[in-house]
């Protein structure tokens, strides 16, 4: 019996150790949810007080996107010379990176086999390169014992394929379905440079009934070190390289060392589960090799992804409408009064220049450090009654939570909420429930004139 007990104990211990070992988020981590504070280097002398970040006027006719991160370079004329991608963050040129962001990919570049679109700018363009788009991403899965489970082959159901045989279809069993409209990326370099502890302090200051949930997500380029997420409808990414690498893989089907799988998906033992597999009429088939996806992995050496990340990092933040209408001026204080600003945080300040962030993989440059920004978001997840039921990398409890949509630049779009199904701001506010119930009711308690002023304020952002 004593022997039996020892075997039993050993088995239990092994099971526990194995489960901890298999947990990918624990790689190099002291605690699975722990993120490091991101403080300026010791001995750094505080420079002048933080200053307002440069902004774009959200007018494509104005050449005002560059925020001085890195060199600007000159606009690329491909008849004369090709764009040169950077080899490391910050060592490329803005105009080269912008050109690469605007390029259309082909099968020869690794596009597909399944994908959503052919380039970054095809979705991120309204009103200028890097901004909004009306395109929808489609995700699907089903519930099993109350937990969300991805559709076979992955929750992202691509809209396109390089061959009609591999265009994805879902079965009726995948009945948790969500459409998400494109987010905008202008000013995201400033968002990347907000230190973990500043996001945490902001959320901690929210009343408990409205308090958001920060996600701790892996930074691909830092050996999956955890950092607070801030990009994507589920705040599923914490750095622009992780975000861009994921998008290159999942929106265009192009593998790279930043794609979250080491750019090795076609040759990996589990090929067919990572790189854009197709749920077809014949079930999930491996489409990661020839003839559907003939380019050898990694399909990009990482240069394009760094160019995408640095283009976004070098864009100015969306600026206010200019001049600001009188109604918007009147509506400004009402935004705080009714409680919108609790989650739609008006102002955050980026970490000082020199601060090492992204798990040690990026140092805040002078152009992005100590900058005051007005994203109108806390970058945390909330349940406002519109949750799409999809779980990404923050656990089952976040299925019906969505990241607070940053409102900066919102006047440039006319389809709101994550599903794009609200077509004016008034109805968008009425759709807020759950943690936003009190704010919605306070909005409804305003006079008609006050409501109009508050809506004018939102549409001046």
């Amino acid at each position: 019996m004593s022997k039996l007990f020892k075997v039993l104990a050993l088995t239990l211990f092994a099971a526990l150790a194995l489960s901890l070992w298999l947990s990918p988020a624990t790689t190099g981590q002291k605690n699975k949810n722990e993120v490091d504070p991101e403080a300026p280097p010791e001995g750094a002398v505080a420079l002048a007080a933080p200053t307002e970040a440069l902004t774009t006027d959200m007018d494509a006719k104005t050449d005002d996107l560059f925020n001085n991160f890195g060199a600007r370079g000159t606009p690329i004329n491909e008849c004369v010379a090709d764009a040169v991608p950077p080899t490391a963050r910050g060592n490329g040129r803005f105009e080269d990176n912008k050109f690469i962001f605007e390029e259309e990919e082909t099968v020869a570049d690794g596009l597909g086999p399944t994908y959503n679109d052919v380039g970054c700018v095809t979705c991120h363009q309204a009103v200028d390169t890097g901004a909004f788009g009306q395109q929808m991403e489609f995700r699907a899965g089903h519930l099993s014992n109350g937990n969300f489970v991805d559709a076979p082959g992955g929750q992202l159901i691509h809209a396109r394929g390089t061959d009609s045989d591999v265009v994805e279809h879902i079965t009726t069993g995948e009945n948790v379905r969500a459409f998400r409209v494109v987010t905008q990326a202008l000013g995201d370099g400033f968002v990347e440079c907000i230190a973990n502890q500043d996001l945490q302090a902001n959320v901690n200051a929210e009343p408990s009934a409205q308090r958001g949930t920060l996600t701790a997500v892996p930074i691909t380029e830092a050996n999956n070190t955890l950092r607070f997420g801030r990009f994507g409808w589920k705040a599923q990414h914490g750095s622009l390289l992780s975000f861009a690498g994921d998008a290159y893989l999942n929106e265009m089907g192009i593998t790279s060392k930043f794609d979250g799988f080491g750019g090795r998906s076609s040759s990996a033992a589990d090929a067919g589960t990572h790189e854009n597999p197709a749920t077809t009429a014949e079930g999930v088939i491996d489409v990661t090799g020839p003839p559907f996806d003939p380019v050898v992995d990694p399909e990009d050496d990482g240069g394009d992804v760094i160019a995408f990340a640095d283009f976004m990092a070098a864009t100015r933040a969306p600026g206010r409408q200019n001049p600001i209408p009188a109604a918007a001026v009147r509506g400004d204080p009402l935004f705080n009064q009714v409680g919108c600003a609790v989650c739609h945080t008006r102002t955050l300040t980026t970490a000082p220049a020199g601060t090492v962030i992204n798990g040690g993989a990026f140092t805040v440059p002078a152009a992005l450090g100590d900058k005051i920004i007005h994203p109108f978001s806390d970058f945390a997840l909330h349940d406002v009654g519109t949750g799409d039921g999809i779980v990404q990398n923050a656990g089952q409890s976040t299925a019906n939570q969505m990241r607070t949509a940053p409102l900066w630049g919102i006047r440039a779009r006319n389809r709101f909420m994550h599903d794009g199904l609200s077509v004016n701001v008034s109805e968008t506010i009425q759709r807020h429930a759950g943690q936003a119930t009190a704010a919605r009711n306070a909005f409804n308690a305003l006079t008609a004139a006050q409501r109009a002023d508050l809506l004018a304020f939102v549409l001046s952002l």
Binding site: A159, R160, G161, P294, Q396, N441
Partner: protein, 252 residues
Amino acid sequence: MHHLNIIAKRFHALMLLLLSLAISGCSRNEPANIQAANSQPAEQTAPDAAPQSSPTVTEVNEAVSRIFKQAARVDSASSPNFLAGDFNGDKSTDIAVIVKPVAGKLGEMNQEFPPWILRDPFVPPKPGTPPIRIAENEVLLAVIHGYGPKGWRDPEATQTYLLKNSVGQDLKAQTKTEVANANKGNSSPRLAGDLIGETLQGKSGYLYFDGAQYSWYDPKTFKGEVDARVVHPGMKPNKFDLLHPKFVRAEK
């Protein structure tokens, strides 16, 4: 037997030790309100709302006044003129009430920024289209979403969808299961909560909440999700790309 008891005690002690290790490992240094990869699965669906008493006319009138003030009232010509159910699937009881604008208050019902969402389930909203209007004496269906355990009776429960062209005959609240059983073999949309079954313009069907609005589900004609949600329709592979020399080489 004594031996087995000792083993059982030791086993329990080990389990407790492992459990405490696991708990301490999960909670150590963990800031509040953070979700990380591999956080423990949690039930996505909250427990069903506690059974509530049947709505009284007084309570329904109070709820309608909460939303519409004096601009609309319960339509006394309809019977039944209210239905309770969890129509948006958030485990908080909602109420659907047949209402009519009060004479002389049409302006309030058609105000530019109303504290409700006015929709026609048969007309998907599109940016830039003129707002739909409410007509005098028009019979409308107001679905007031519940809030918390008190449901639609809660004073905070004001989220309201006001539906045009949605009041027919034989209105009744039906659960997803009831609707599925009644329509076996027919495909259905993703159903968030209970449905409102009725006969509209001679056709039997259901109003259901799709996460953003109320839509009409006719089991006999339903083909799939609405067109407004189609992603990148009509996309075909670029044949020029497929003929790229590098692609052809790789294929061979």
